[in-house]
């Protein structure tokens, strides 16, 4: 048995300089990079509302949240770099579409209530997905996830609180909150990925201790958490098939339109082009800052010994 196999069998952690199979490394690079890309693309739908937040309190909260998303992206790029890839190459892969990000961020944030719905549902789904990753077999990824999950909790709670405020507000505010939930519910369920039967890499990722629970298991866990929360919000979820299954002790829910997920993933979502366009523009517009910092460092001779 190789050292790697022994570590996995013992549910121990794999660390950067350990020997590992090429496919394990490649799978982690793909997953961590996609995760990092999702964090920084995820700044956009909510970032759109920073200048239009309805109060200084909400604006400060939203700024902190969007800054957290940037931070999460950086934790994850740092974790990916421990596998021997260069951050520039990862960004290049994002900008040219060779690597993906979560399809959820290709939906538009049409009203202020969308910011709240994203916090409650999208960050809520992310937490369900990410908590088990805090125990994944690759040390740097697991440590980044633990840090991220602590911060996501604030994201979800601020969204819930904002949505509750709107739901209990004027009829127009309540309707705006309901409309946002109606639009974000199904895409949030799609965040857990294709059904187990159509999830090609799942078995191998599970064997390697990267994945701890199946897509459908995590999706069900999320639905079971969200239904009572929606009730507390005084809002409905847009699924006529939602009903409590006494036997399973879980909520049954309707059929997910995975054709939509495939369409959005393959580039035909409402905002795919806008998101990448803005990301590339931000990178290019910031080039002079990076160049100036490097020139200053060279001139001062303050660069590190590396």
């Amino acid at each position: 048995m190789s050292t790697f196999e022994a570590l996995i069998a013992a549910q121990d952690r794999v660390e950067p300089r350990d020997e590992m199979p090429g496919d394990y490394r490649a799978t982690l690079v793909r997953q961590i990079a996609q995760h990092a890309h999702s964090e920084i693309i995820g700044m956009q739908p909510e970032g759109d509302w920073i200048t239009r937040a309805p109060s200084l309190r909400r604006k400060a909260i939203l700024l902190a949240k969007v800054q957290d998303e940037a931070g999460h992206g950086l934790y994850l790029y740092a974790a990916a770099e421990t596998l021997g890839v260069d951050r520039d190459d990862l960004l290049e892969a994002l900008h040219t579409g060779r690597q993906k990000y979560s399809s959820i961020f290709n939906y538009p944030s049409l009203t202020w209530a969308d910011v709240a719905a994203i916090g409650w549902l999208v960050d809520g789904a992310a937490i369900v997905n990410q908590v088990p990753l805090g125990r994944c077999s690759y040390g740097p990824y697991a440590r980044a996830m633990v840090r991220i999950c602590k911060e996501e909790s604030f994201h979800q709670r601020q969204g819930f609180e904002s949505l509750l405020t709107m739901s209990r507000g004027t009829p127009a505010q309540h309707a705006m909150a309901q409309d946002a939930v109606d639009r974000w519910w199904w895409p949030s369920l799609m965040m857990f990925g294709p059904p187990d039967a159509e999830s090609p890499h799942s078995a191998r990722s599970t064997a390697w201790g990267i994945k701890r629970f199946s897509n459908d298991t995590l999706r069900q866990r999320f639905v079971d958490l969200a239904v009572p929360q929606a009730e507390a919000l005084g809002l409905t979820l847009p699924d006529p098939d939602l009903r409590w299954d006494e036997e399973r002790g879980s909520w049954d829910f309707g059929t997910i339109d995975f054709t939509e997920l495939r369409e959005v993933v393959s580039g035909n979502g409402p905002c795919n082009e806008v998101r990448i366009g803005r990301r590339v523009a931000a990178h290019e517009d910031g080039a002079w800052v990076r160049e100036a910092a490097a020139a200053y460092a060279a001139k001062q001779g303050t660069r590190g010994a590396a």
Partner: protein
């Protein structure tokens, strides 16, 4: 790196009385910017009272391949542990 930045390892002292602990890495053109970036990325919620940044290339590490032989000399020296010694149960020793 092509964007002119270097990779730095970041160590944070969570509070006085504790040692700096490795938390991750950061990109920056120089040490001063590395400190500022590290502050923004790793201490947004009061996680630290002091930060070290070290160029990643300046770290010399033991190799995991040699883990067994490298740490082997300590393996058979059980007499370095207090539990190795038998003393009367009734004494506080």
């Amino acid at each position: 790196m092509s964007d002119g930045s270097l990779l730095w390892e970041v160590f944070v002292r969570p509070r006085r009385g504790l040692a700096h602990t490795h938390v991750g890495s950061i990109h920056a053109a120089d040490a001063e910017l590395a400190l500022r970036n590290a502050r923004d990325v790793y201490t947004r919620r009061g996680e630290g009272v002091s930060i070290w940044v070290v160029p990643s290339g300046a770290v010399t590490a033991s190799s995991p391949d040699e883990q067994d032989s490298f740490f082997e000399p300590a393996g058979d020296k059980v007499y370095r542990h207090p539990t190795f010694y038998e003393v009367p149960d009734e004494l506080q020793l």
